[in-house]
């Protein structure tokens, strides 16, 4: 009887302790989910980035290396995709979602610390080349990478995994993952002429896959290898043309 009463007492104490805390925890989770829903709705409807909401959707135009494309400069909108395709398949068009304004601001400040957030052209119009490491490995900025991509004067090599590559990449980029360089190079090597300008990138400035791949390319005899250090993250958030899907 006494044992039963003691057990019941413990149970009561446990429920007295647990029940209100679980209730509070549940409310915290619910509020958290509401914050996410509001944030997503706000960014989707342009509340957080009104300037992005009014923009027309840019579409991917798959470049052909060495051939000037009708796409012209970045910033032109919705043109029909050309039949020509560097890797032989149909291009997939990527819709650029509206961005939270904070993201754009951080990207702009990262590109050009002196620029005022909101003035995108200032960040892009200040290219600066910093030679780094071996003689032919040059670090390039977003502005230069954009220029090379628009003019089709360089081949882009994505050093990230195939999974990340499929989620989005620079138009026309070839996937040579640093984790599986030999296989990637075997697959895409024939599309990389020795005298071509090659721009290698990975996820962001803090990743080192691009540098690894760039150094391996230099070892293989490529002389004009460039490192787009800011990488995919800055490319994506600075409203550049992008492409989705794996290699064809």
């Amino acid at each position: 009887m006494a044992n039963r009463r003691r057990g019941g007492g413990n149970q009561g104490m446990l429920s007295r302790y647990l029940a209100p805390r679980m209730w509070a925890g549940g409310w915290i989770v619910a509020v958290g989910i509401c914050i996410c829903v509001i944030f997503n709705l706000a960014s989707r409807h342009g509340v957080l980035a009104p300037e992005a909401a009014g923009k027309q959707v840019k579409q991917t135009v798959r470049p052909v290396y060495g051939v000037a494309s009708s796409a012209g400069s970045a910033g032109k909108t919705a043109q029909p995709a050309p039949a020509a395709h560097a890797r032989g398949g149909a291009p997939r068009h990527a819709k650029k979602d509206e961005l939270p304004i904070a993201a754009s601001a951080v990207v702009l400040v990262r590109n050009n610390p002196t620029a005022t957030p909101g003035i995108q052209s200032t960040a892009v119009e200040a290219p600066k080349t910093e030679p780094e490491g071996p003689a032919h490995l040059t670090v390039i900025t977003l502005a230069e990478a954009t220029k090379y991509n628009e003019s089709r004067s360089a081949i882009f090599v994505d050093a990230r995994s195939a999974q990340r590559f499929a989620m989005g990449h620079v138009p026309g980029a070839l996937n040579v993952p640093s984790s599986d360089f030999d296989k990637g190079f075997e697959r895409n090597g024939p599309r990389l002429p020795r005298d071509a300008k090659i721009v290698v990138y990975c996820e962001s400035a803090s990743c080192d896959q691009a540098e690894e791949v760039a150094n391996k390319l230099l070892e293989k005899g490529y002389r004009k290898v460039m490192h787009f250090k800011d990488g995919w993250l800055v490319w994506e958030f600075s409203d550049q043309v992008q492409e989705k899907g794996g290699e064809q």
């Binding site: 805390r21 989770v29 939270p100």
Partner: protein, 179 residues
Amino acid sequence: MSALVRHALRLVCQLLLGAIFLVSSIGKFTYPRAFLRSVVDYDMTPMWMSIVTAVTLPGIEMAVGAVLSLAAVAELARPRISRAELSIRIGLDAGNRSGWLRRLDIWVDGAAWLAGGMLVFFIVLLSIALLRGMTLDCGCFDLIGEYIPFLRASKITWTTVWRDAVMLLFVLPILTRKS
């Protein structure tokens, strides 16, 4: 350990843990797609679950961080309190916490349990990834972490696991409060 030191330690842990969760959630909100990519890279859940996690986790982290840090601030911020009230708040008379302080404790406890649960989940996730020999971007604080040395971890290592374990220790003084 005296009641005053224990109480001060609890408030410091509460503030720190709250601030860390807030900073972490802001990083994830600022770079949602980067965070989604990080979650997908762990390759431990189906795609739909990765998306649900990537969409909801920042909000839950923000709510937990807000409750922990705001409660600590609120506990000490009310001006002009009586000596008895002060001794209750600074822990000298913790047994007499009542009214709004007791209700606040329940919310703080709920948030602390959630924070502890999330940290255990992160530790397990990171450990499995490391034991599988994966080299991944942490996704813990995303680019916000690049500006704060302690939080900077572009790739997961065992240091990342230890860092989370240290944060888990912050939960203990909060949950072992006398009230």
